[in-house]
């Protein structure tokens, strides 16, 4: 620690940081633009000028940039010095010269860092009387608006997009007063993290296009702390609502997980909430005279009664990896554990169960996203992490910078000197080794890539294991990759913090076993090397928001999906409740149809209409993530609570509210918290949930916290078109939040913080006021609880059995935009999604006689589909990659597969070419270096 003096007050600071960061850590207000807590300093904007004195006798001092000056011990500075304040006010005046007077029509207005900093710097009168520089804006695709005239040239956008997120299609163009941040030519911003520009840009150059379409000022949004439903990473979000529709999602800082950034699926997938595909009615299918079968809307009471009537006999329930722990628990209670079945495919469940066992082994540590960034050697096995759990991929990209960090440290360059560190490192990167069947979006920073089928990857992973520990069981594979294996093993062993990343998207338990064996071998190696028992980082990406939660619940009892389907097929149950699940996505069409043929009365509860619930006898509308409070378990086994943002209109309810006992007048009689308490009491594995529950009840001064801001407008008038009386506000007896403006403001307590907001700081950058220190933990923040105790027994190496694949080898492709069911209903995501397609290599294309963008027929002995084909440069030989989207069922294509070219006309070719032109893939080799 070092001591510095700021305007005569002494502070204890970290000398490894710069003065700006340390001043902000101390809660002082010092304006800045180009500095970002995650991206360090470049000294571009000159806004954070302070006066620095050489010693106590120095009364003159010099103006320095706080962000470019280390907070070294004994520093004496002044923020309030007249010369420094004058300097800052002149800097902002010149930055603002061409800035338009369009705040009232600007989407950033009211949460604009530039507005805040202008106020703070005391520039309130314009003296510039000449013609402003103006620019032409570009169409940057369905996510982002572009308004270049508002730019103050802080360079944050390109520093985030290019340097941090690895984007290649946004550049600083031009120079001096006409510098322009945009693309070389108009077009969609391709990077998966483009949405962060909305928050990274200190003003309104890059704004959320989906938000613009139903815009509301920040202060008019009702918000609550939430969790992203896009994948199993568990990123924290702040959804905002107005007039009963969800308007947008912004990032909510979580120290261990998402930090300051979200992926574009998480940010723009919310609009599914407002989609026309939403189930809003309770629909009952019945025979009605001459009309035959019709679906009739029931009132909520009728629906509850109908549900009770249908579920009086022998009842089975199928859970869901995208429903909350509460809803799955409510279903299990309703049907009984022995009648509760997994809503995942059998293969997925066994993979997730294997992952849970691995993560509980001592010495195998499941890293959170922040820890992933600290790895100095990463091995990715098979998982296309950018497309399945994108935020983790962004962390892996940062991990490759650890070589740069080490170089900077030995050259004594402070790590916050961003430009200097990058200049020093050039192309030096920490090892990132990617095993994959096709080129991935992280290849540009990979040190080594291996293209191979899942079977080949297993053989390589076994080879690496053998190279580390010759006592491991011998591989039975016919493949031999000893040379590559030895080189990878060497890098993993040499690393200080090696990390192995995989996932369950391949649904191959053998792959998980082999990966687990490698982690065990590496753990043993590290134990031998050091007296301190060094652990090995091992994690597996999870596809859905609660895959891990459901898999944990299934450990407590319940059956597989296939056994549920067979019960249904036999008509052995009187009714079935299917929770938030399109079963056609989970098992083969044939198997689902056979189950439906049993004519078991089917009750579906879901958010969106889909192929399966169209066939249900009773369909009940389920709340989305933002419309309900719920608990979700991420890939680490971290349970987090998401709060209800707003009361959905009409008959929509949280799924569990349909399932728990209900009173015809007052509605559900059991609250979600009770379900969690019961779960925690039943099983030691879920006992930490009590801690999560208790962290939610600590309400300051027995007052609730408001979901609406203190400036929320129109409260008394917003429903005046419907009724002259002010409508009663929705009640929320169980949570510490209220659906109103009144209550304890959250300005000092971050545990329930939804929208970061502090006096004089209206943008999301107000987050610094809620952190213990910059980039630190949130004050009183709640990071969730871990449900996976690291106390399992050390297990011996698992046996890996090769199940030889019949027919041509295949792998299934995930797409960030399209693979996840709910976000795929968001119009902006749809604009980026592509229909189902297949990928093959040039050699295979030649031997099959299919041309680029032509059609390929994929057939199993029961099913056949024709897909447009993409011939890729970087793809494993002799195999076919299949992207299913929502058009094709993955389960239908398991089993022996054959492929053949289909004759096509030029129209088909042209339309597939157009479709593939919007697909963002990476087929270039890693960048030089």
């Amino acid at each position: 620690m070092a001591k510095i003096s700021v305007d005569g007050v002494e502070y204890e600071v970290n000398p490894a940081n710069n003065l700006l960061q340390e001043c902000l850590s101390q809660g002082l207000d010092l304006p800045y633009f180009c500095w970002h807590p995650c991206m360090g300093s470049v000294g571009a904007c000159r806004q954070c000028a302070v006066k620095q004195y050489r010693n106590a006798d120095d009364k003159t001092g010099t103006v320095v940039m706080a962000c470019m000056t280390p907070a070294s011990d004994g520093s004496i500075i002044s923020i309030n010095d007249k010369q420094a304040t004058d300097f800052r006010s002149h800097v902002i005046e010149s930055l603002m010269i061409s800035h338009p007077h369009d705040c009232p029509v600007c989407e950033e207005g009211g949460e604009c860092h530039l507005q805040d900093m202008t106020q703070m710097s005391g520039h309130n009168y314009r003296r510039y009387d000449f013609k402003k520089v103006t620019h032409r804006n570009q169409d940057l695709g369905p996510f982002i608006n572009h308004e270049m005239n508002r730019c103050i040239a802080c360079y944050r956008c390109v520093r985030f997009y290019d340097d941090y997120a690895g984007g290649t299609d946004l550049a600083a163009l031009g120079s001096h007063h006409h510098v322009y941040f945009g693309r070389h030519e108009e077009g969609t911003l391709e990077n998966e993290f483009s949405g962060n520009l909305v928050e990274v840009c200190p003003t309104g150059v890059f704004t959320d296009k989906t938000f613009s379409a139903h815009y509301t000022r920040k202060w008019d949004l009702q918000t609550a702390p939430s969790v992203c439903a896009g994948c199993g990473a568990g990123c924290n979000t702040t959804p905002g609502e107005r007039y009963g529709t969800l308007r947008r999602i912004v990032n909510r800082y979580h120290h261990d997980l998402n930090g300051y950034f979200l992926c574009d699926r998480g940010r723009f997938g919310y609009d599914a909430n407002n989609s026309t595909q939403r189930v809003v009615e309770t629909l009952f299918r019945h025979l009605q005279g001459e009309d035959g079968e019709v679906r009739k809307a029931l009132t909520s009471t009728e629906a509850a009664r109908q549900l009770d009537a249908m579920s009086s006999g022998e009842l089975i329930g199928i859970g869901s990896p995208r429903a909350s722990l509460e809803s799955n628990m409510a279903l299990r209670q309703r049907v009984g554990t022995q009648n509760f079945f997994s809503g995942m495919s059998d293969a997925q469940l066994s993979c997730a169960t294997e992952v849970i066992a691995l993560l509980q082994e001592p010495g195998l540590n499941c890293p959170d996203i922040r820890t992933l960034e600290q790895s100095d050697c990463v091995l990715v096995v098979n998982e296309d992490i950018t497309n399945t759990s994108a935020r983790m991929a962004l962390a892996l990209r940062q991990a490759t910078r650890n070589a740069a960090t080490a170089m900077a440290q030995s050259a004594r360059i402070p790590l916050w000197q961003d430009a200097a560190v990058r200049e020093l490192a050039q192309h030096s990167r920490s090892p990132l080794i990617i095993l994959s069947p096709q080129g991935t979006r992280l290849d540009d920073v990979a040190s080594d890539t291996f293209l191979g089928t899942v079977e080949q990857q297993i053989a390589l992973v076994e080879g690496i294991t053998y190279a580390i520990d010759a006592d491991c069981p011998a591989s039975t594979s016919s493949f031999n990759f000893d040379a590559q294996a030895a080189s990878i093993a060497k890098q993993l062993c040499a690393a200080t913090r090696p990390c192995i990343v995989s996932g369950i998207s391949a649904e191959s338990i053998e792959l998980i076993r082999a990966t687990g064996n490698l982690a065990r071998a590496l753990r043993e190696y590290r134990h031998r090397q050091s007296e301190v028992k060094l652990s090995v980082d091992l994690c597996f990406a999870m596809p859905e928001a609660n895959t891990m939660g459901l898999a944990l619940l299934m450990r407590e009892g319940g059956g597989s999906l296939s056994s549920a389907l067979s019960i249904l097929g036999k008509g052995a149950a009187d009714a079935a409740i299917v929770l938030e699940n399109d079963l056609y996505r989970r098992a083969a069409t044939e198997a689902i149809d056979a189950a439906l043929a049993g004519n078991t009365p089917m009750i579906a509860i879901d958010q969106l209409h889909n192929g399966f619930n169209a066939k249900a006898h009773l369909l009940l509308p389920a709340a989305s993530m933002a419309e309900q409070g719920g608990t979700w378990v991420n890939y680490e086994g971290r349970a987090q609570h998401s709060y209800q943002v707003f009361q959905p209109e009409g008959k929509i309810r949280a799924s569990y509210e349909w399932l728990v006992p209900s009173n015809p007048v007052s509605g559900p009689t059991v609250h979600g918290d009770t379900l969690l308490e019961e779960l925690a009491a039943e099983s030691a594995n879920f006992a930490p949930l009590l801690e999560l529950l208790s962290s939610r009840t600590g309400i300051a001064a027995l007052m609730k916290s408001p979901r609406q801001s203190h400036r929320y407008s129109g409260r008394t008038a917003m429903h005046a078109n419907e009724h002259v009386h002010e409508t009663k506000q929705a009640q929320d007896p169980h949570s510490p939040l209220s659906f109103s403006m009144e209550g304890m403001l959250l300005q000092k307590d971050a545990s329930l913080m939804s929208a970061a907001w502090a006096p004089a700081w209206n943008s999301n950058q107000a987050i610094s006021k809620f952190q213990e220190e910059i980039n630190g933990e949130l004050k009183q923040g709640n990071k969730g609880v871990h449900l996976l105790a690291r106390d399992g027994a050390q297990r011996p190496y698992s046996k890996v059995e090769y199940v030889a694949e019949e027919g041509i080898a295949k792998y299934f492709i995930d797409q960030l935009f399209g693979s996840e069911e709910i976000s795929a209903a968001s119009p902006a995501i749809q604009a980026r999604a592509v229909p189902a397609y297949a990928c093959i290599s040039h050699e295979l294309a030649q031997s099959l006689g299919v041309q680029q963008h032509g059609l390929l027929r994929l057939s199993t002995n029961r099913y056949s589909v024709e897909l447009p084909v993409l011939i890729r440069d970087r793809i494993a030989a002799q195999c076919v990659g299949i992207y299913c989207g929502s058009d094709v069922s993955r389960a239908d294509l398991t089993g022996k597969l054959s492929v053949a070219a289909v004759a096509q006309d030029s129209n088909v070719l042209a339309s597939s070419r157009a479709m593939f032109s919007s697909l963002v893939i990476n087929d270039t080799l890693p960048r030089e270096g």
């Binding site: 103006t134 290019d162 290649t168 299609d169 600083a172 030519e185 270039t924």
Partner: protein, 177 residues
């Protein structure tokens, strides 16, 4: 993108997307001088401009592909430098100094004369594609102001007569071709 307007001349707008053998040859030489392909970006743009007169979008993409960098990044380099032309220019680019010394020595009168004679202002090209007039801040020849640089040659102590003689000569040469 830039604030100055350059009126498109009759120069051909679309260039081949593949680099010519001469261009490739010269870029290949530059590549031997740097450890990183991307470092050759600026030199490669200068080579293309030398052969094509300017750098079209098509040329830019071709160079970017050849150097294995993104066209967006290379365009950042291209547009940073005033003298990499991203729009067509005349066969003779007149870089006319309008800085302090030349201003004191009456460069504005000379400039007005050029504009009157050729019918072009700063940033414009004559309809026949012969001349483009651009301002530059200084040519380092203040003791012989006003100064102008054209086709690699510096013209000093400019007067209206000198300008007339020069323009007439260039125009005649072009007619004789």
């Amino acid at each position: 993108m830039t604030t100055s307007t350059i009126i498109a001349s009759s120069a051909p707008k679309v260039q081949a997307r593949t680099l010519s053998p001469e261009e490739t040859h010269e870029i290949d030489h530059e590549l031997t001088l740097y450890p990183d392909r991307r470092a050759v970006g600026l030199e490669a743009l200068k080579i293309v401009q030398k052969h094509q007169g300017w750098v079209s979008d098509e040329s830019l993409v071709a160079v970017a592909e050849y150097l294995g960098m993104s066209a967006h990044e290379l365009d950042g380099v291209a547009t940073f430098f005033n003298l990499i032309f991203r729009q067509p220019v005349g066969r003779n680019v007149m870089l006319f100094c309008d800085s302090v010394s030349c201003y004191i020595m009456g460069c504005e009168r000379i400039k007005d004369h050029i504009s009157a004679r050729l019918g072009i202002d700063y940033g414009e090209t004559t309809a026949d594609g012969e001349f483009t007039l651009l301002p530059v801040p200084c040519l380092g020849d203040c003791d012989r102001a006003p100064v102008m640089l054209m086709a690699g040659e510096q013209y000093r102590n400019l007067t209206k007569e000198k300008i007339d003689a020069l323009l007439t000569r260039v125009q005649q040469e072009q007619t004789n071709k």
